[in-house]
Amino acid sequence: MNWVCVALVVCGLAASGAAAQAPSGEAAGERSLDAAAERIGLSVARDAPLTIVAEELEAARGDDGRERVVFRKAVRVEQGTLTLHCDYLEAIYPASAGGQPETITARGAVRITQDDTEVRCAQAVFRNAACSAVCTSAARPAQLRRGENIIEGREIHFDLCSGRLKVRGGQVHLPGAGAETSQP
Protein backbone atom coordinates (compact mmCIF):
# COMPACT_ATOMS: atom_id res chain seq x y z
CA MET A 1 0.00 0.00 0.00
CA ASN A 2 1.45 3.32 -1.01
CA TRP A 3 1.25 6.61 0.85
CA VAL A 4 -1.88 7.77 -0.95
CA CYS A 5 -3.62 4.55 0.03
CA VAL A 6 -2.56 5.12 3.63
CA ALA A 7 -3.99 8.60 3.40
CA LEU A 8 -7.20 7.22 1.94
CA VAL A 9 -7.48 4.82 4.83
CA VAL A 10 -7.15 7.79 7.13
CA CYS A 11 -9.76 9.70 5.15
CA GLY A 12 -12.07 6.74 5.31
CA LEU A 13 -11.66 6.42 9.04
CA ALA A 14 -12.16 10.10 9.50
CA ALA A 15 -15.28 10.13 7.38
CA SER A 16 -16.88 7.17 9.04
CA GLY A 17 -15.73 8.04 12.49
CA ALA A 18 -14.73 4.44 12.96
CA ALA A 19 -12.15 3.58 15.51
CA ALA A 20 -8.92 2.04 14.40
CA GLN A 21 -9.05 -1.71 14.38
CA ALA A 22 -8.33 -3.29 17.68
CA PRO A 23 -5.64 -5.92 17.69
CA SER A 24 -7.12 -9.26 16.74
CA GLY A 25 -5.83 -10.94 19.85
CA GLU A 26 -4.23 -13.64 17.76
CA ALA A 27 -0.49 -13.63 17.80
CA ALA A 28 0.48 -11.57 14.80
CA GLY A 29 3.65 -12.83 13.19
CA GLU A 30 6.65 -10.59 12.77
CA ARG A 31 6.08 -10.55 9.04
CA SER A 32 2.57 -9.19 9.34
CA LEU A 33 3.76 -6.59 11.86
CA ASP A 34 6.48 -5.52 9.49
CA ALA A 35 3.96 -5.28 6.68
CA ALA A 36 1.70 -3.19 8.91
CA ALA A 37 4.60 -0.90 9.78
CA GLU A 38 5.40 -0.50 6.11
CA ARG A 39 1.81 0.49 5.43
CA ILE A 40 2.28 3.28 7.93
CA GLY A 41 5.52 4.17 6.19
CA LEU A 42 7.87 3.18 9.00
CA SER A 43 9.43 -0.26 8.79
CA VAL A 44 11.51 -1.89 11.48
CA ALA A 45 14.77 -3.68 10.66
CA ARG A 46 14.54 -6.30 13.40
CA ASP A 47 17.95 -7.75 12.67
CA ALA A 48 19.66 -4.34 12.87
CA PRO A 49 21.28 -3.16 16.12
CA LEU A 50 19.22 -0.72 18.18
CA THR A 51 21.21 2.21 19.55
CA ILE A 52 19.97 4.77 22.07
CA VAL A 53 22.11 7.83 22.76
CA ALA A 54 21.30 10.38 25.48
CA GLU A 55 22.94 12.56 28.11
CA GLU A 56 21.43 10.64 31.02
CA LEU A 57 19.94 7.26 31.82
CA GLU A 58 18.15 6.32 35.01
CA ALA A 59 16.90 2.85 35.84
CA ALA A 60 14.91 1.90 38.92
CA ARG A 61 12.42 -0.68 40.08
CA GLY A 62 9.17 0.67 41.46
CA ASP A 63 7.23 -0.57 44.46
CA ASP A 64 4.94 -2.45 42.10
CA GLY A 65 7.92 -4.43 40.78
CA ARG A 66 7.91 -2.72 37.42
CA GLU A 67 11.26 -1.56 36.08
CA ARG A 68 11.44 1.97 34.71
CA VAL A 69 14.23 3.05 32.38
CA VAL A 70 14.45 6.74 31.45
CA PHE A 71 16.74 8.43 28.93
CA ARG A 72 16.96 12.23 29.20
CA LYS A 73 18.36 15.12 27.15
CA ALA A 74 19.11 14.91 23.45
CA VAL A 75 17.77 11.37 23.11
CA ARG A 76 18.36 9.67 19.78
CA VAL A 77 17.20 6.15 18.92
CA GLU A 78 18.42 4.45 15.77
CA GLN A 79 17.57 1.11 14.24
CA GLY A 80 18.40 0.56 10.62
CA THR A 81 17.14 3.63 8.78
CA LEU A 82 14.57 4.44 11.49
CA THR A 83 15.51 7.32 13.79
CA LEU A 84 13.68 8.83 16.76
CA HIS A 85 14.71 12.10 18.41
CA CYS A 86 13.18 13.44 21.62
CA ASP A 87 14.04 15.08 24.96
CA TYR A 88 12.79 12.28 27.19
CA LEU A 89 12.25 8.57 26.61
CA GLU A 90 10.74 6.26 29.21
CA ALA A 91 10.26 2.49 29.02
CA ILE A 92 8.19 0.61 31.60
CA TYR A 93 8.91 -3.10 31.94
CA PRO A 94 6.56 -5.59 33.60
CA ALA A 95 7.37 -7.01 37.01
CA SER A 96 8.00 -10.42 35.50
CA ALA A 97 11.58 -10.72 34.34
CA GLY A 98 12.52 -10.18 30.71
CA GLY A 99 10.28 -9.45 27.79
CA GLN A 100 9.30 -6.32 25.96
CA PRO A 101 8.46 -3.04 27.64
CA GLU A 102 4.75 -2.53 28.33
CA THR A 103 4.89 1.13 27.44
CA ILE A 104 7.42 3.43 25.79
CA THR A 105 6.82 7.16 26.08
CA ALA A 106 8.77 9.77 24.12
CA ARG A 107 8.30 13.42 25.08
CA GLY A 108 9.55 16.79 23.93
CA ALA A 109 10.09 17.58 20.25
CA VAL A 110 9.47 13.99 19.19
CA ARG A 111 10.61 13.34 15.64
CA ILE A 112 10.55 9.92 13.98
CA THR A 113 12.08 9.66 10.54
CA GLN A 114 12.70 6.97 7.98
CA ASP A 115 13.53 7.63 4.36
CA ASP A 116 11.02 10.29 3.25
CA THR A 117 8.61 9.65 6.12
CA GLU A 118 8.62 11.91 9.17
CA VAL A 119 6.41 12.04 12.26
CA ARG A 120 6.50 15.04 14.60
CA CYS A 121 4.63 15.55 17.84
CA ALA A 122 5.07 16.58 21.47
CA GLN A 123 4.47 13.13 22.90
CA ALA A 124 4.39 9.63 21.46
CA VAL A 125 3.19 6.67 23.53
CA PHE A 126 3.79 3.10 22.32
CA ARG A 127 1.73 0.40 24.01
CA ASN A 128 2.83 -3.11 23.34
CA ALA A 129 -0.32 -4.93 24.41
CA ALA A 130 -2.57 -2.58 22.46
CA CYS A 131 -0.22 -2.76 19.48
CA SER A 132 -0.57 0.98 19.19
CA ALA A 133 1.32 4.25 19.10
CA VAL A 134 -0.35 7.58 19.76
CA CYS A 135 1.25 10.85 18.77
CA THR A 136 -0.20 13.97 20.40
CA SER A 137 0.61 17.67 20.41
CA ALA A 138 -0.92 20.64 22.13
CA ALA A 139 0.68 23.81 20.78
CA ARG A 140 1.22 22.61 17.23
CA PRO A 141 -0.56 19.69 15.58
CA ALA A 142 1.03 16.29 15.43
CA GLN A 143 2.23 15.73 11.91
CA LEU A 144 2.88 12.76 9.67
CA ARG A 145 4.63 13.71 6.48
CA ARG A 146 5.69 11.59 3.54
CA GLY A 147 7.07 13.54 0.65
CA GLU A 148 4.52 16.24 -0.09
CA ASN A 149 1.66 14.44 1.64
CA ILE A 150 0.87 15.60 5.14
CA ILE A 151 -1.48 14.44 7.87
CA GLU A 152 -1.94 16.75 10.82
CA GLY A 153 -4.05 16.47 13.93
CA ARG A 154 -4.27 16.88 17.67
CA GLU A 155 -3.76 13.15 17.87
CA ILE A 156 -2.53 10.56 15.40
CA HIS A 157 -3.21 6.97 16.39
CA PHE A 158 -1.13 4.26 14.72
CA ASP A 159 -2.45 0.72 14.85
CA LEU A 160 0.83 -1.10 14.53
CA CYS A 161 -0.79 -4.49 13.97
CA SER A 162 -3.11 -3.51 11.16
CA GLY A 163 -1.07 -0.63 9.75
CA ARG A 164 -3.99 1.78 10.03
CA LEU A 165 -4.06 5.35 11.17
CA LYS A 166 -6.68 7.38 12.92
CA VAL A 167 -6.44 11.15 13.15
CA ARG A 168 -8.41 13.28 15.57
CA GLY A 169 -8.94 16.99 15.09
CA GLY A 170 -6.85 17.36 12.00
CA GLN A 171 -6.58 17.50 8.27
CA VAL A 172 -4.96 15.67 5.42
CA HIS A 173 -3.06 17.36 2.59
CA LEU A 174 -2.61 15.28 -0.57
CA PRO A 175 -1.10 17.59 -3.17
CA GLY A 176 -0.49 14.72 -5.56
CA ALA A 177 -4.14 13.61 -5.41
CA GLY A 178 -5.42 17.17 -5.30
CA ALA A 179 -7.31 16.39 -2.12
CA GLU A 180 -7.63 17.96 1.26
CA THR A 181 -9.81 16.61 4.02
CA SER A 182 -10.48 18.18 7.38
CA GLN A 183 -11.86 16.68 10.53
CA PRO A 184 -13.08 18.73 13.49
Partner: protein
Protein backbone atom coordinates in the same frame (compact mmCIF):
# COMPACT_ATOMS: atom_id res chain seq x y z
CA UNK B 1 51.06 -14.92 53.61
CA UNK B 2 53.00 -12.66 56.01
CA UNK B 3 50.53 -11.49 58.56
CA UNK B 4 50.17 -11.39 62.26
CA UNK B 5 46.98 -12.80 63.75
CA UNK B 6 45.69 -9.35 64.58
CA UNK B 7 46.78 -8.02 61.20
CA UNK B 8 44.78 -10.76 59.55
CA UNK B 9 41.84 -9.80 61.72
CA UNK B 10 42.09 -6.20 60.48
CA UNK B 11 42.26 -7.31 56.88
CA UNK B 12 39.36 -9.63 57.51
CA UNK B 13 37.19 -6.78 58.72
CA UNK B 14 38.16 -4.61 55.79
CA UNK B 15 37.69 -7.27 53.22
CA UNK B 16 34.43 -8.31 54.75
CA UNK B 17 33.45 -4.66 54.60
CA UNK B 18 34.20 -4.61 50.88
CA UNK B 19 32.11 -7.64 50.26
CA UNK B 20 29.25 -6.44 52.42
CA UNK B 21 29.40 -3.12 50.68
CA UNK B 22 29.40 -4.80 47.31
CA UNK B 23 26.37 -6.77 48.39
CA UNK B 24 24.70 -3.64 49.64
CA UNK B 25 24.72 -4.83 53.25
CA UNK B 26 25.52 -2.76 56.28
CA UNK B 27 28.32 -3.99 58.49
CA UNK B 28 27.32 -4.21 62.15
CA UNK B 29 28.77 -1.30 64.15
CA UNK B 30 30.91 -2.24 67.15
CA UNK B 31 29.09 -2.46 70.47
CA UNK B 32 29.12 0.90 72.25
CA UNK B 33 30.37 -0.63 75.46
CA UNK B 34 33.32 -2.45 73.87
CA UNK B 35 36.69 -0.99 74.89
CA UNK B 36 38.56 0.55 71.99
CA UNK B 37 41.71 -1.48 71.27
CA UNK B 38 45.12 0.13 71.03
CA UNK B 39 45.97 0.91 67.41
CA UNK B 40 48.25 -1.61 65.79
CA UNK B 41 51.39 -0.50 64.03
CA UNK B 42 51.14 -0.33 60.23
CA UNK B 43 51.40 -3.80 58.77
CA UNK B 44 52.20 -5.05 55.31
CA UNK B 45 50.50 -8.21 54.15
CA UNK B 46 51.49 -10.21 51.11
CA UNK B 47 49.26 -12.67 49.35
CA UNK B 48 46.18 -11.87 51.40
CA UNK B 49 43.32 -14.30 51.09
CA UNK B 50 40.08 -14.25 52.98
CA UNK B 51 37.27 -16.76 52.71
CA UNK B 52 33.85 -16.46 54.32
CA UNK B 53 31.58 -19.44 54.78
CA UNK B 54 27.88 -19.92 55.30
CA UNK B 55 27.84 -23.35 56.87
CA UNK B 56 29.87 -25.60 54.60
CA UNK B 57 29.47 -23.41 51.52
CA UNK B 58 32.06 -20.75 50.75
CA UNK B 59 30.15 -17.57 49.95
CA UNK B 60 32.96 -15.05 49.69
CA UNK B 61 36.62 -14.99 48.77
CA UNK B 62 38.84 -11.90 48.67
CA UNK B 63 42.41 -12.02 47.45
CA UNK B 64 45.02 -9.27 47.20
CA UNK B 65 48.65 -9.52 46.18
CA UNK B 66 49.66 -6.76 48.57
CA UNK B 67 48.01 -4.99 51.50
CA UNK B 68 49.04 -2.22 53.88
CA UNK B 69 46.99 -1.91 57.02
CA UNK B 70 47.27 1.33 58.99
CA UNK B 71 44.92 0.88 61.92
CA UNK B 72 45.88 4.27 63.39
CA UNK B 73 44.83 6.02 60.20
CA UNK B 74 42.01 3.52 59.91
CA UNK B 75 43.04 2.88 56.34
CA UNK B 76 43.90 -0.21 54.34
CA UNK B 77 45.44 -0.12 50.89
CA UNK B 78 45.18 -3.23 48.74
CA UNK B 79 46.79 -3.98 45.41
CA UNK B 80 45.58 -6.35 42.72
CA UNK B 81 42.39 -7.23 44.49
CA UNK B 82 39.99 -9.97 43.48
CA UNK B 83 36.64 -10.33 45.21
CA UNK B 84 34.35 -13.28 44.59
CA UNK B 85 30.99 -13.77 46.18
CA UNK B 86 27.66 -15.44 45.60
CA UNK B 87 24.66 -13.27 44.93
CA UNK B 88 21.18 -14.77 45.00
CA UNK B 89 20.04 -12.92 41.92
CA UNK B 90 23.22 -12.91 39.86
CA UNK B 91 25.08 -16.06 40.83
CA UNK B 92 28.86 -15.82 41.17
CA UNK B 93 30.13 -12.23 41.14
CA UNK B 94 33.82 -11.51 40.56
CA UNK B 95 35.29 -7.99 40.87
CA UNK B 96 38.94 -7.25 40.17
CA UNK B 97 40.74 -3.94 40.74
CA UNK B 98 44.35 -2.80 40.56
CA UNK B 99 44.11 -0.86 43.79
CA UNK B 100 41.69 -0.43 46.67
CA UNK B 101 41.69 2.01 49.59
CA UNK B 102 39.37 1.18 52.46
CA UNK B 103 38.38 3.19 55.51
CA UNK B 104 38.13 1.01 58.59
CA UNK B 105 36.17 3.58 60.56
CA UNK B 106 33.44 4.11 57.98
CA UNK B 107 33.61 1.11 55.64
CA UNK B 108 33.89 3.57 52.75
CA UNK B 109 36.19 2.48 49.95
CA UNK B 110 37.68 3.53 46.65
CA UNK B 111 38.66 1.09 43.89
CA UNK B 112 41.11 2.43 41.34
CA UNK B 113 43.02 1.42 38.25
CA UNK B 114 41.56 -1.07 35.85
CA UNK B 115 38.37 -2.37 37.44
CA UNK B 116 36.48 -5.29 35.95
CA UNK B 117 33.43 -7.06 37.24
CA UNK B 118 31.74 -10.26 36.11
CA UNK B 119 28.24 -10.33 37.50
CA UNK B 120 27.14 -13.78 36.47
CA UNK B 121 24.82 -14.59 33.56
CA UNK B 122 27.38 -13.12 31.18
CA UNK B 123 27.20 -9.60 32.64
CA UNK B 124 30.41 -7.62 32.71
CA UNK B 125 31.40 -4.07 33.68
CA UNK B 126 34.55 -1.98 33.36
CA UNK B 127 35.67 1.35 34.76
CA UNK B 128 38.75 2.93 36.31
CA UNK B 129 37.47 4.27 39.64
CA UNK B 130 34.64 3.42 42.00
CA UNK B 131 33.72 5.15 45.28
CA UNK B 132 31.52 3.68 47.95
CA UNK B 133 30.06 5.68 50.82
CA UNK B 134 28.71 3.37 53.43
CA UNK B 135 26.62 5.92 55.35
CA UNK B 136 24.50 6.69 52.30
CA UNK B 137 24.98 3.26 50.74
CA UNK B 138 25.87 5.01 47.53
CA UNK B 139 28.28 3.75 44.88
CA UNK B 140 29.54 6.12 42.21
CA UNK B 141 32.19 6.84 39.62
CA UNK B 142 33.08 10.01 37.74
CA UNK B 143 35.00 7.94 35.22
CA UNK B 144 33.68 6.32 32.04
CA UNK B 145 31.90 3.06 32.75
CA UNK B 146 30.87 0.24 30.44
CA UNK B 147 28.33 -2.50 31.14
CA UNK B 148 27.89 -5.48 28.85
CA UNK B 149 25.73 -8.54 28.70
CA UNK B 150 24.50 -10.70 25.86
CA UNK B 151 23.06 -8.39 23.26
CA UNK B 152 23.48 -5.20 25.31
CA UNK B 153 26.34 -2.71 25.58
CA UNK B 154 25.82 0.28 27.87
CA UNK B 155 28.25 3.13 28.53
CA UNK B 156 28.37 6.51 30.22
CA UNK B 157 30.87 9.12 31.42
CA UNK B 158 29.80 8.66 35.04
CA UNK B 159 27.53 6.48 37.14
CA UNK B 160 25.77 6.67 40.47
CA UNK B 161 24.03 3.79 42.17
CA UNK B 162 21.80 3.98 45.23
CA UNK B 163 22.01 0.56 46.80
CA UNK B 164 19.01 1.19 49.06
CA UNK B 165 16.58 1.89 46.25
CA UNK B 166 18.57 -0.06 43.63
CA UNK B 167 18.45 3.03 41.41
CA UNK B 168 21.14 3.41 38.73
CA UNK B 169 21.95 6.74 37.10
CA UNK B 170 24.31 6.95 34.11
CA UNK B 171 25.43 10.46 33.12
CA UNK B 172 27.20 12.00 30.15
CA UNK B 173 27.27 10.65 26.61
CA UNK B 174 25.14 7.66 27.51
CA UNK B 175 24.90 5.03 24.83
CA UNK B 176 22.85 1.82 24.92
CA UNK B 177 23.42 -0.55 22.04
CA UNK B 178 21.26 -3.64 21.67
CA UNK B 179 22.23 -6.29 19.16
CA UNK B 180 19.59 -8.80 18.07
CA UNK B 181 20.44 -12.34 19.11
Amino acid sequence: MNASRSGRGGARRVLLGVVLAALGCRAEPPAASAPSPRPLPPATLLGVEFEGFSGEARDVRVRAVHAEVDSEAQLVRLERVKIEFEDEARGTVVIEAERAALRLDSDDFVLQGRIEGHLGAGEHFETTEVHYEHASERLWTDHPVELRRAGLHLRGDAMEMDLVSDRVHLKGHVEARMTPR
